[in-house]
Symmetry: C2
Subunit: 340 residues, 2 copies
Amino acid sequence: VSRPVRAIVYGVGAMGAIMARLLLEKGVEIVGAVARSPAKVGRDLGEVAGLDRTTGVLVEPDARPALERGADVALVAVSSYLHVMAHHFRLCLEHGTNVVTIEEETVWPWHTAPELAAELDATARANGVSIAASGAQDVFWMKLVATLMGAAHRIEEVTGYCSWNADDYGPEVAAHVHLGESPEAFARHLEEHGWPDFVARANLEALVADAGLTVAEVESGVEPVLAEEDTPSASLGRPVRRGHLLGILDTTTVRTAEGPTFSFAMAGRVYRAGEADVNEWTIRGEPDLHLRNDRVPTRLITCTSVVNRIPDVIAAEPGLVTLDRLPQPRYRHGALTLPS
Amino acid sequence: VSRPVRAIVYGVGAMGAIMARLLLEKGVEIVGAVARSPAKVGRDLGEVAGLDRTTGVLVEPDARPALERGADVALVAVSSYLHVMAHHFRLCLEHGTNVVTIEEETVWPWHTAPELAAELDATARANGVSIAASGAQDVFWMKLVATLMGAAHRIEEVTGYCSWNADDYGPEVAAHVHLGESPEAFARHLEEHGWPDFVARANLEALVADAGLTVAEVESGVEPVLAEEDTPSASLGRPVRRGHLLGILDTTTVRTAEGPTFSFAMAGRVYRAGEADVNEWTIRGEPDLHLRNDRVPTRLITCTSVVNRIPDVIAAEPGLVTLDRLPQPRYRHGALTLPS
């Protein structure tokens, strides 16, 4: 005897809208939808998410009423930074609701945000629930790579490269890659604010932890990727001007105390016609090993990965579960249910 | 406080010889080496395995004395068929020794050899140890694919293709692919003996089980791959004559009761100059997903995968542990040890 999983769509942006559809197609009962935008509040989730049906769920600006309805899990997709997201996570966990998020730092936050990580871990434990991050990094940037490493006798270096279309994720991500800015403005921004250790670092930290290794040194860098000609951008709503930022190339290298080095270069930029996302990893050692995914639909698999993780996060030991501690990802055929 | 893992190299053929080296490089204490061949018995394992050192371990024709010395695990690489191997597995398990093997049917034997599987499972449980299969199918043909499936919302079809060099694994495997035979002799063999459900089937059964699906129908087929010109073969010790078998193309398709179809085509044949092993999988559904490994050193990763599985098999719940029930493969940096 089983019942549908009960979920909250927490954040109804580009990603939340896709997740809403996937959840409904997996028979999940959506008990709440949360978004701040006055353009979304009060409207049916189906309409806001661009589905061809209404859901009977109205978008609410405050998560509390939705959380009080009792959900097994909240799919949280609001911002890319843990310090911005912590408030939302806390709210879910305190209501006894498990969290799966695409917030990238939560993949492995113990070095970049140790206090927040410890606090969220404690809150999750105290409420008997879990919080974990999934998204593109789960299957493609972390678990496929960790699995490939399982065929290595001796590793000297693990090197990854991926590209993703900065036009695919809405204005929040467009702003993150400084889409359309002049290189001078971007340089000034770097000078004033530095550059946060982003996706690549959390991802590599999870890979290093998975292999039982210890981080000794982290080096991050970012370079602007400039438009060679005026290039249309959907997220920007206008073309990126020639010489301005199409996006960025984010590179992080982690050296371990034990020897192996890990590095990951991520190109997030608006594409020219015909380009598609790739994911490519090489292990140098004994033996050399290679992995390549062509035509990765990064935007969609960000969402499918989160939905497929729902059973794992519900089943996990309470606490903050970093990506290395989640089991191998799994395809979920049919409806997502729980014993009733 | 830890001590080295204690292992037995059970079968000192092409694969056992590589495993012996890998074990020594991982600080494993080899307490026995077992082989039948009079050319190997009584000689030092290091010499038989072509290492540049002696090991103090003499190859023995009978496994019992080695097993009585007390090993944590036996790496068993003798033959490709479970009915041939069962005797060896039984002997290890009855001595309280865990088994990791490259015998392919053991990957998931419950449909093709249910009685043997049940017997080995019971024997393993009764002795508090485990038996599992690893090898090339572990990381490349099964776990990478299952992981990729974890990014799928809806799967219609999973299709795999791999190639491996039939000249790389010694005479046992060369005989299995009927290397050097005439197509007429191969056709007669098929008529008289049929074709065993081999690697591809066990591999697909593990993938299907991993996704929680149910096998409804299995279709296997084999085609000879013929030499277009006389082609040298190391395992054969003579060229394969033009028009004779360079190897085989083994194809298995599994239809599930729930809908998704899985198929795997494996080309095992002697290579022409410049060819290398590939592993390539496509998932058709929402979304379509692709995975490709180029230049797979199949022979070596068959052995590295087994060695990296030692901690998992020792830690597993007692019994026959099919590949879907083993955790994500993991790189093992440094020495393989156990708490002492």
